[in-house]
Subunit: 196 residues, 2 copies
DNA sequence: CCTCCTAACTAACGATCGTTAGGCTAGGCG
DNA sequence: CGCCTAGCCTAACGATCGTTAGTTAGGAGG
Protein backbone atom coordinates (compact mmCIF):
# COMPACT_ATOMS: atom_id res chain seq x y z
CA UNK A 1 0.00 0.00 0.00
CA UNK A 2 2.57 2.58 -1.14
CA UNK A 3 1.25 6.11 -1.52
CA UNK A 4 1.59 7.06 -5.14
CA UNK A 5 0.00 10.43 -4.51
CA UNK A 6 -1.37 12.41 -1.65
CA UNK A 7 -4.77 12.38 -3.26
CA UNK A 8 -4.82 8.62 -3.39
CA UNK A 9 -3.72 8.36 0.24
CA UNK A 10 -6.73 10.45 1.22
CA UNK A 11 -9.03 8.15 -0.72
CA UNK A 12 -7.55 5.08 0.96
CA UNK A 13 -8.01 6.51 4.44
CA UNK A 14 -11.49 7.66 3.52
CA UNK A 15 -12.40 4.21 2.20
CA UNK A 16 -11.46 2.75 5.55
CA UNK A 17 -13.51 5.25 7.54
CA UNK A 18 -16.49 5.32 5.16
CA UNK A 19 -16.71 1.56 5.33
CA UNK A 20 -16.40 1.44 9.09
CA UNK A 21 -18.75 4.27 10.08
CA UNK A 22 -20.51 5.20 6.87
CA UNK A 23 -20.12 8.32 4.72
CA UNK A 24 -22.49 10.62 6.60
CA UNK A 25 -21.04 9.70 9.97
CA UNK A 26 -17.49 10.45 8.84
CA UNK A 27 -16.39 14.08 8.78
CA UNK A 28 -13.67 15.68 6.73
CA UNK A 29 -11.90 16.33 10.02
CA UNK A 30 -12.08 12.61 10.86
CA UNK A 31 -10.27 11.76 7.64
CA UNK A 32 -7.70 14.47 8.26
CA UNK A 33 -7.14 13.34 11.85
CA UNK A 34 -6.39 9.81 10.65
CA UNK A 35 -3.63 11.33 8.53
CA UNK A 36 -2.43 13.69 11.29
CA UNK A 37 -3.61 16.71 9.36
CA UNK A 38 -6.00 19.60 9.80
CA UNK A 39 -9.39 19.24 8.15
CA UNK A 40 -8.96 22.24 5.90
CA UNK A 41 -5.67 20.91 4.56
CA UNK A 42 -7.45 18.23 2.60
CA UNK A 43 -9.01 20.80 0.29
CA UNK A 44 -5.65 21.32 -1.38
CA UNK A 45 -6.10 17.83 -2.82
CA UNK A 46 -9.84 17.38 -2.97
CA UNK A 47 -12.74 19.43 -4.31
CA UNK A 48 -15.33 18.29 -1.79
CA UNK A 49 -16.25 15.45 0.49
CA UNK A 50 -18.55 13.99 -2.11
CA UNK A 51 -15.72 14.18 -4.61
CA UNK A 52 -13.78 11.72 -2.46
CA UNK A 53 -16.73 9.35 -2.22
CA UNK A 54 -17.29 9.51 -5.95
CA UNK A 55 -13.62 8.78 -6.68
CA UNK A 56 -13.74 5.69 -4.46
CA UNK A 57 -17.03 4.41 -5.86
CA UNK A 58 -16.12 5.15 -9.48
CA UNK A 59 -12.81 3.37 -9.23
CA UNK A 60 -14.33 0.37 -7.46
CA UNK A 61 -17.04 0.15 -10.12
CA UNK A 62 -14.39 0.20 -12.80
CA UNK A 63 -12.48 -2.60 -11.16
CA UNK A 64 -15.58 -4.79 -11.06
CA UNK A 65 -16.29 -4.06 -14.72
CA UNK A 66 -12.76 -4.80 -15.89
CA UNK A 67 -12.63 -8.00 -13.86
CA UNK A 68 -15.93 -9.16 -15.35
CA UNK A 69 -14.62 -8.46 -18.86
CA UNK A 70 -11.60 -10.65 -18.20
CA UNK A 71 -13.66 -13.38 -16.58
CA UNK A 72 -16.08 -13.67 -19.47
CA UNK A 73 -13.23 -13.69 -21.99
CA UNK A 74 -11.35 -16.39 -20.09
CA UNK A 75 -14.43 -18.55 -19.62
CA UNK A 76 -15.23 -18.32 -23.30
CA UNK A 77 -11.69 -19.42 -24.15
CA UNK A 78 -11.69 -22.29 -21.70
CA UNK A 79 -15.16 -23.75 -22.22
CA UNK A 80 -17.05 -21.87 -24.93
CA UNK A 81 -20.77 -21.71 -24.37
CA UNK A 82 -20.68 -23.31 -20.92
CA UNK A 83 -22.96 -21.22 -18.67
CA UNK A 84 -21.65 -22.74 -15.45
CA UNK A 85 -18.10 -21.92 -16.45
CA UNK A 86 -19.09 -18.36 -17.33
CA UNK A 87 -21.14 -17.74 -14.20
CA UNK A 88 -18.45 -19.31 -12.03
CA UNK A 89 -15.81 -17.10 -13.60
CA UNK A 90 -17.94 -13.99 -13.07
CA UNK A 91 -18.51 -14.96 -9.46
CA UNK A 92 -14.83 -15.61 -8.83
CA UNK A 93 -13.85 -12.33 -10.43
CA UNK A 94 -16.36 -10.49 -8.25
CA UNK A 95 -15.02 -12.10 -5.09
CA UNK A 96 -11.45 -11.31 -6.14
CA UNK A 97 -12.18 -7.62 -6.59
CA UNK A 98 -14.07 -7.55 -3.32
CA UNK A 99 -11.33 -9.19 -1.27
CA UNK A 100 -8.46 -7.33 -2.91
CA UNK A 101 -9.78 -4.04 -1.50
CA UNK A 102 -12.59 -4.66 0.97
CA UNK A 103 -12.74 -1.06 2.06
CA UNK A 104 -13.33 0.43 -1.36
CA UNK A 105 -15.60 -2.42 -2.43
CA UNK A 106 -17.61 -2.14 0.77
CA UNK A 107 -18.07 1.58 0.17
CA UNK A 108 -19.16 0.85 -3.39
CA UNK A 109 -21.73 -1.68 -2.19
CA UNK A 110 -23.21 0.28 0.71
CA UNK A 111 -22.54 4.00 0.32
CA UNK A 112 -23.68 4.78 -3.22
CA UNK A 113 -26.88 6.21 -1.72
CA UNK A 114 -24.87 9.13 -0.38
CA UNK A 115 -23.71 10.25 -3.82
CA UNK A 116 -25.02 13.37 -5.52
CA UNK A 117 -28.13 12.65 -7.59
CA UNK A 118 -26.19 12.73 -10.86
CA UNK A 119 -23.45 10.43 -9.64
CA UNK A 120 -25.97 8.16 -7.99
CA UNK A 121 -27.92 7.75 -11.21
CA UNK A 122 -24.71 7.06 -13.11
CA UNK A 123 -23.60 4.38 -10.69
CA UNK A 124 -27.04 2.81 -10.60
CA UNK A 125 -27.15 2.29 -14.34
CA UNK A 126 -23.65 0.85 -14.30
CA UNK A 127 -24.69 -1.47 -11.51
CA UNK A 128 -27.76 -2.53 -13.49
CA UNK A 129 -25.59 -3.29 -16.52
CA UNK A 130 -23.19 -5.26 -14.35
CA UNK A 131 -25.99 -7.27 -12.77
CA UNK A 132 -27.45 -7.93 -16.23
CA UNK A 133 -24.24 -9.76 -17.16
CA UNK A 134 -24.87 -12.24 -14.37
CA UNK A 135 -28.52 -12.58 -15.24
CA UNK A 136 -27.70 -13.22 -18.90
CA UNK A 137 -25.46 -16.15 -17.95
CA UNK A 138 -28.16 -17.53 -15.71
CA UNK A 139 -30.70 -17.32 -18.51
CA UNK A 140 -28.22 -19.01 -20.86
CA UNK A 141 -27.95 -21.82 -18.35
CA UNK A 142 -31.71 -22.21 -18.12
CA UNK A 143 -31.94 -22.30 -21.92
CA UNK A 144 -29.55 -25.27 -22.14
CA UNK A 145 -30.99 -26.99 -19.08
CA UNK A 146 -27.92 -26.57 -16.89
CA UNK A 147 -29.72 -24.22 -14.51
CA UNK A 148 -33.29 -24.21 -13.27
CA UNK A 149 -35.28 -21.71 -11.25
CA UNK A 150 -38.59 -19.91 -11.19
CA UNK A 151 -37.42 -16.31 -11.44
CA UNK A 152 -34.01 -15.46 -12.91
CA UNK A 153 -34.19 -11.83 -11.81
CA UNK A 154 -34.65 -12.72 -8.16
CA UNK A 155 -32.00 -15.40 -8.41
CA UNK A 156 -29.53 -12.85 -9.78
CA UNK A 157 -30.21 -10.35 -7.03
CA UNK A 158 -29.96 -13.07 -4.43
CA UNK A 159 -26.71 -14.39 -5.86
CA UNK A 160 -25.07 -10.97 -5.84
CA UNK A 161 -26.33 -10.24 -2.32
CA UNK A 162 -24.84 -13.51 -1.20
CA UNK A 163 -21.44 -12.64 -2.64
CA UNK A 164 -21.48 -9.05 -1.47
CA UNK A 165 -22.14 -10.29 2.04
CA UNK A 166 -18.44 -11.09 2.15
CA UNK A 167 -17.73 -7.39 2.58
CA UNK A 168 -19.41 -7.53 5.99
CA UNK A 169 -17.07 -10.09 7.53
CA UNK A 170 -13.99 -10.52 5.35
CA UNK A 171 -10.72 -9.82 7.14
CA UNK A 172 -7.53 -9.86 5.03
CA UNK A 173 -5.71 -11.28 8.07
CA UNK A 174 -8.43 -13.81 8.87
CA UNK A 175 -8.26 -17.58 8.97
CA UNK A 176 -9.17 -18.03 5.30
CA UNK A 177 -7.18 -16.73 2.32
CA UNK A 178 -9.13 -14.88 -0.33
CA UNK A 179 -8.90 -17.60 -2.95
CA UNK A 180 -10.35 -20.19 -0.55
CA UNK A 181 -13.28 -17.90 0.04
CA UNK A 182 -13.70 -17.50 -3.68
CA UNK A 183 -13.72 -21.30 -4.13
CA UNK A 184 -16.42 -21.53 -1.55
CA UNK A 185 -18.62 -18.81 -2.93
CA UNK A 186 -18.37 -20.18 -6.45
CA UNK A 187 -19.45 -23.59 -5.15
CA UNK A 188 -22.41 -22.20 -3.23
CA UNK A 189 -23.47 -19.90 -6.05
CA UNK A 190 -23.43 -22.53 -8.75
CA UNK A 191 -25.30 -24.99 -6.57
CA UNK A 192 -27.93 -22.36 -5.89
CA UNK A 193 -28.89 -22.04 -9.54
CA UNK A 194 -28.00 -25.52 -10.82
CA UNK A 195 -30.65 -27.87 -12.17
CA UNK A 196 -30.91 -30.46 -9.39
CA UNK B 1 -50.76 1.14 9.89
CA UNK B 2 -52.96 2.79 12.52
CA UNK B 3 -51.12 4.96 15.01
CA UNK B 4 -51.53 3.43 18.41
CA UNK B 5 -49.33 6.03 20.03
CA UNK B 6 -47.48 9.14 19.05
CA UNK B 7 -44.24 7.50 20.06
CA UNK B 8 -44.83 4.61 17.70
CA UNK B 9 -45.73 6.95 14.85
CA UNK B 10 -42.36 8.63 15.27
CA UNK B 11 -40.60 5.28 15.10
CA UNK B 12 -42.46 4.33 11.92
CA UNK B 13 -41.57 7.57 10.18
CA UNK B 14 -37.99 7.26 11.42
CA UNK B 15 -37.77 3.68 10.12
CA UNK B 16 -38.73 4.92 6.70
CA UNK B 17 -36.16 7.72 6.67
CA UNK B 18 -33.38 5.73 8.33
CA UNK B 19 -33.77 3.01 5.75
CA UNK B 20 -33.88 5.42 2.85
CA UNK B 21 -31.03 7.76 3.79
CA UNK B 22 -29.32 6.10 6.73
CA UNK B 23 -29.33 7.09 10.41
CA UNK B 24 -26.48 9.61 10.32
CA UNK B 25 -27.86 11.35 7.24
CA UNK B 26 -31.30 11.77 8.82
CA UNK B 27 -31.79 14.62 11.27
CA UNK B 28 -34.32 14.94 14.03
CA UNK B 29 -35.76 17.83 12.05
CA UNK B 30 -36.15 15.59 9.00
CA UNK B 31 -38.26 13.18 11.02
CA UNK B 32 -40.32 16.02 12.45
CA UNK B 33 -40.83 17.59 9.02
CA UNK B 34 -42.21 14.31 7.71
CA UNK B 35 -44.83 14.54 10.48
CA UNK B 36 -45.45 18.28 9.96
CA UNK B 37 -43.89 19.07 13.32
CA UNK B 38 -41.03 21.11 14.69
CA UNK B 39 -37.87 19.21 15.52
CA UNK B 40 -37.91 20.08 19.18
CA UNK B 41 -41.46 18.78 19.55
CA UNK B 42 -40.28 15.20 19.19
CA UNK B 43 -38.46 15.37 22.51
CA UNK B 44 -41.78 15.24 24.33
CA UNK B 45 -42.01 11.63 23.16
CA UNK B 46 -38.42 10.56 22.75
CA UNK B 47 -35.30 10.72 24.91
CA UNK B 48 -32.77 11.06 22.11
CA UNK B 49 -32.20 10.29 18.46
CA UNK B 50 -30.33 7.12 19.36
CA UNK B 51 -33.26 6.12 21.56
CA UNK B 52 -35.44 6.01 18.44
CA UNK B 53 -32.91 3.92 16.54
CA UNK B 54 -32.58 1.53 19.44
CA UNK B 55 -36.35 1.10 19.75
CA UNK B 56 -36.61 0.24 16.06
CA UNK B 57 -33.68 -2.17 16.09
CA UNK B 58 -34.68 -3.82 19.37
CA UNK B 59 -38.23 -4.43 18.23
CA UNK B 60 -37.09 -5.76 14.85
CA UNK B 61 -34.64 -8.11 16.54
CA UNK B 62 -37.41 -9.38 18.79
CA UNK B 63 -39.65 -10.07 15.84
CA UNK B 64 -36.95 -12.13 14.15
CA UNK B 65 -36.37 -14.10 17.34
CA UNK B 66 -40.03 -14.82 17.98
CA UNK B 67 -40.56 -15.86 14.36
CA UNK B 68 -37.60 -18.23 14.55
CA UNK B 69 -39.00 -19.77 17.74
CA UNK B 70 -42.28 -20.48 16.01
CA UNK B 71 -40.61 -21.79 12.87
CA UNK B 72 -38.45 -24.29 14.73
CA UNK B 73 -41.41 -25.46 16.79
CA UNK B 74 -43.60 -25.93 13.71
CA UNK B 75 -40.89 -27.73 11.78
CA UNK B 76 -40.31 -30.10 14.68
CA UNK B 77 -44.02 -30.87 14.81
CA UNK B 78 -44.33 -31.40 11.07
CA UNK B 79 -41.20 -33.41 10.32
CA UNK B 80 -39.20 -34.08 13.48
CA UNK B 81 -35.45 -34.21 12.93
CA UNK B 82 -35.61 -33.15 9.29
CA UNK B 83 -32.88 -30.51 8.80
CA UNK B 84 -34.22 -29.32 5.44
CA UNK B 85 -37.64 -28.79 6.97
CA UNK B 86 -36.14 -26.88 9.88
CA UNK B 87 -33.82 -24.72 7.77
CA UNK B 88 -36.59 -24.05 5.29
CA UNK B 89 -38.92 -22.97 8.08
CA UNK B 90 -36.28 -20.68 9.56
CA UNK B 91 -35.66 -19.15 6.15
CA UNK B 92 -39.34 -18.61 5.48
CA UNK B 93 -39.86 -17.04 8.89
CA UNK B 94 -36.96 -14.69 8.28
CA UNK B 95 -38.35 -13.61 4.91
CA UNK B 96 -41.80 -13.11 6.44
CA UNK B 97 -40.49 -10.78 9.14
CA UNK B 98 -38.43 -8.92 6.58
CA UNK B 99 -41.26 -8.36 4.14
CA UNK B 100 -43.89 -7.57 6.77
CA UNK B 101 -41.96 -4.42 7.76
CA UNK B 102 -39.14 -3.76 5.29
CA UNK B 103 -38.32 -0.40 6.78
CA UNK B 104 -37.70 -1.60 10.32
CA UNK B 105 -36.02 -4.79 9.15
CA UNK B 106 -33.79 -2.85 6.78
CA UNK B 107 -32.77 -0.54 9.60
CA UNK B 108 -32.03 -3.58 11.77
CA UNK B 109 -29.84 -5.11 9.06
CA UNK B 110 -27.90 -2.01 8.04
CA UNK B 111 -27.94 0.61 10.79
CA UNK B 112 -26.90 -1.29 13.92
CA UNK B 113 -23.43 0.21 13.50
CA UNK B 114 -24.82 3.59 14.49
CA UNK B 115 -25.99 2.38 17.90
CA UNK B 116 -24.29 3.38 21.13
CA UNK B 117 -21.47 0.97 22.05
CA UNK B 118 -23.58 -0.75 24.69
CA UNK B 119 -26.59 -1.21 22.47
CA UNK B 120 -24.38 -2.25 19.57
CA UNK B 121 -22.73 -4.96 21.62
CA UNK B 122 -26.11 -6.18 22.82
CA UNK B 123 -27.51 -6.42 19.31
CA UNK B 124 -24.38 -8.10 18.02
CA UNK B 125 -24.58 -10.93 20.51
CA UNK B 126 -28.28 -11.40 19.76
CA UNK B 127 -27.46 -11.48 16.08
CA UNK B 128 -24.74 -14.06 16.70
CA UNK B 129 -27.18 -16.23 18.65
CA UNK B 130 -29.74 -15.90 15.87
CA UNK B 131 -27.22 -16.81 13.20
CA UNK B 132 -26.11 -19.80 15.29
CA UNK B 133 -29.64 -21.24 15.02
CA UNK B 134 -29.27 -21.35 11.24
CA UNK B 135 -25.77 -22.78 11.46
CA UNK B 136 -26.90 -25.50 13.87
CA UNK B 137 -29.54 -26.69 11.40
CA UNK B 138 -26.97 -26.68 8.62
CA UNK B 139 -24.60 -28.78 10.72
CA UNK B 140 -27.46 -31.16 11.55
CA UNK B 141 -28.05 -31.57 7.85
CA UNK B 142 -24.40 -32.32 7.20
CA UNK B 143 -24.41 -34.92 9.98
CA UNK B 144 -27.26 -36.87 8.37
CA UNK B 145 -25.95 -36.41 4.84
CA UNK B 146 -28.77 -34.15 3.66
CA UNK B 147 -26.47 -31.15 3.27
CA UNK B 148 -22.88 -30.94 2.12
CA UNK B 149 -20.37 -28.09 2.09
CA UNK B 150 -16.81 -27.27 3.00
CA UNK B 151 -17.40 -24.57 5.60
CA UNK B 152 -20.71 -24.32 7.49
CA UNK B 153 -19.84 -20.94 8.99
CA UNK B 154 -19.32 -19.31 5.62
CA UNK B 155 -22.39 -21.03 4.25
CA UNK B 156 -24.48 -19.62 7.10
CA UNK B 157 -23.23 -16.08 6.58
CA UNK B 158 -23.77 -16.38 2.87
CA UNK B 159 -27.27 -17.74 3.30
CA UNK B 160 -28.31 -14.91 5.60
CA UNK B 161 -26.74 -12.31 3.33
CA UNK B 162 -28.68 -13.77 0.44
CA UNK B 163 -31.96 -13.50 2.31
CA UNK B 164 -31.27 -10.06 3.75
CA UNK B 165 -30.60 -8.83 0.25
CA UNK B 166 -34.37 -8.72 -0.12
CA UNK B 167 -34.42 -5.58 1.99
CA UNK B 168 -32.60 -3.76 -0.79
CA UNK B 169 -35.20 -4.26 -3.46
CA UNK B 170 -38.47 -5.49 -1.92
CA UNK B 171 -41.45 -3.28 -2.60
CA UNK B 172 -44.75 -4.13 -0.85
CA UNK B 173 -46.56 -2.91 -3.96
CA UNK B 174 -44.24 -4.70 -6.38
CA UNK B 175 -45.04 -7.41 -8.88
CA UNK B 176 -44.45 -10.28 -6.46
CA UNK B 177 -46.38 -10.93 -3.24
CA UNK B 178 -44.31 -11.61 -0.14
CA UNK B 179 -45.16 -15.30 0.08
CA UNK B 180 -44.00 -15.89 -3.51
CA UNK B 181 -40.70 -14.29 -2.64
CA UNK B 182 -40.46 -16.49 0.42
CA UNK B 183 -41.09 -19.59 -1.70
CA UNK B 184 -38.31 -18.53 -3.98
CA UNK B 185 -35.78 -17.78 -1.30
CA UNK B 186 -36.48 -21.06 0.48
CA UNK B 187 -35.90 -22.91 -2.76
CA UNK B 188 -32.64 -21.13 -3.51
CA UNK B 189 -31.38 -21.43 0.06
CA UNK B 190 -32.02 -25.13 0.39
CA UNK B 191 -30.46 -25.86 -2.97
CA UNK B 192 -27.39 -23.89 -1.94
CA UNK B 193 -26.62 -26.17 0.98
CA UNK B 194 -28.15 -29.44 -0.25
CA UNK B 195 -26.00 -32.50 -0.94
CA UNK B 196 -25.96 -32.60 -4.74
C1' DC C 1 19.65 34.47 -4.60
C1' DC C 2 15.23 34.34 -6.39
C1' DT C 3 11.28 31.93 -7.80
C1' DC C 4 8.08 28.41 -7.83
C1' DC C 5 5.70 24.45 -6.08
C1' DT C 6 3.91 21.32 -2.74
C1' DA C 7 1.90 20.69 1.38
C1' DA C 8 0.67 22.05 5.25
C1' DC C 9 -1.16 25.64 8.64
C1' DT C 10 -4.61 29.04 11.34
C1' DA C 11 -8.82 31.44 11.40
C1' DA C 12 -13.12 31.98 10.29
C1' DC C 13 -17.74 31.73 7.50
C1' DG C 14 -22.65 30.34 7.68
C1' DA C 15 -25.36 26.29 8.17
C1' DT C 16 -26.99 22.63 10.59
C1' DC C 17 -26.72 19.39 14.25
C1' DG C 18 -28.90 17.26 18.82
C1' DT C 19 -30.90 19.03 22.62
C1' DT C 20 -33.01 22.02 26.50
C1' DA C 21 -36.19 25.40 28.49
C1' DG C 22 -40.33 27.51 28.93
C1' DG C 23 -44.83 28.74 27.32
C1' DC C 24 -49.28 28.13 24.77
C1' DT C 25 -53.62 25.56 23.39
C1' DA C 26 -57.35 22.24 23.20
C1' DG C 27 -60.08 18.67 25.22
C1' DG C 28 -61.60 15.59 29.08
C1' DC C 29 -63.23 15.39 33.66
C1' DG C 30 -64.45 16.72 38.29
C1' DC D 1 -65.84 26.68 36.25
C1' DG D 2 -61.04 25.04 37.20
C1' DC D 3 -57.57 21.67 36.75
C1' DC D 4 -54.87 18.26 34.30
C1' DT D 5 -52.65 16.31 30.57
C1' DA D 6 -51.08 15.69 25.85
C1' DG D 7 -49.15 17.82 22.22
C1' DC D 8 -47.04 21.30 20.04
C1' DC D 9 -44.77 25.79 19.73
C1' DT D 10 -40.68 29.38 19.66
C1' DA D 11 -36.12 30.51 20.98
C1' DA D 12 -31.90 29.42 21.91
C1' DC D 13 -27.62 26.66 23.58
C1' DG D 14 -22.96 24.93 22.28
C1' DA D 15 -20.93 21.77 19.15
C1' DT D 16 -19.79 20.35 14.81
C1' DC D 17 -20.36 20.39 9.96
C1' DG D 18 -18.30 21.41 4.96
C1' DT D 19 -15.80 24.86 3.06
C1' DT D 20 -13.02 29.32 1.91
C1' DA D 21 -9.22 32.51 2.48
C1' DG D 22 -4.85 33.83 3.38
C1' DT D 23 -0.32 32.45 5.15
C1' DT D 24 3.86 29.84 6.18
C1' DA D 25 7.71 26.31 5.75
C1' DG D 26 10.79 23.79 2.94
C1' DG D 27 12.82 22.03 -1.04
C1' DA D 28 13.87 22.09 -6.35
C1' DG D 29 15.52 24.45 -10.32
C1' DG D 30 17.03 28.47 -12.80
Amino acid sequence: MVEISRRRAIEDVASDLFRERGYAATSIRDIARAMSLQGASLYAHVASKEDVLWAIVDRAAGRFEVAADGAERDAETRRPGDPAEALGALTRAHVDVLTSDVDAAGVFVHEWRSLDPGHRDAILSRRDAYQARFQRRIEDGIAVGAFAMTDPAIATSTLLSAINGIAAWYDPNGRLPANRIADHLVELSLRMVANP
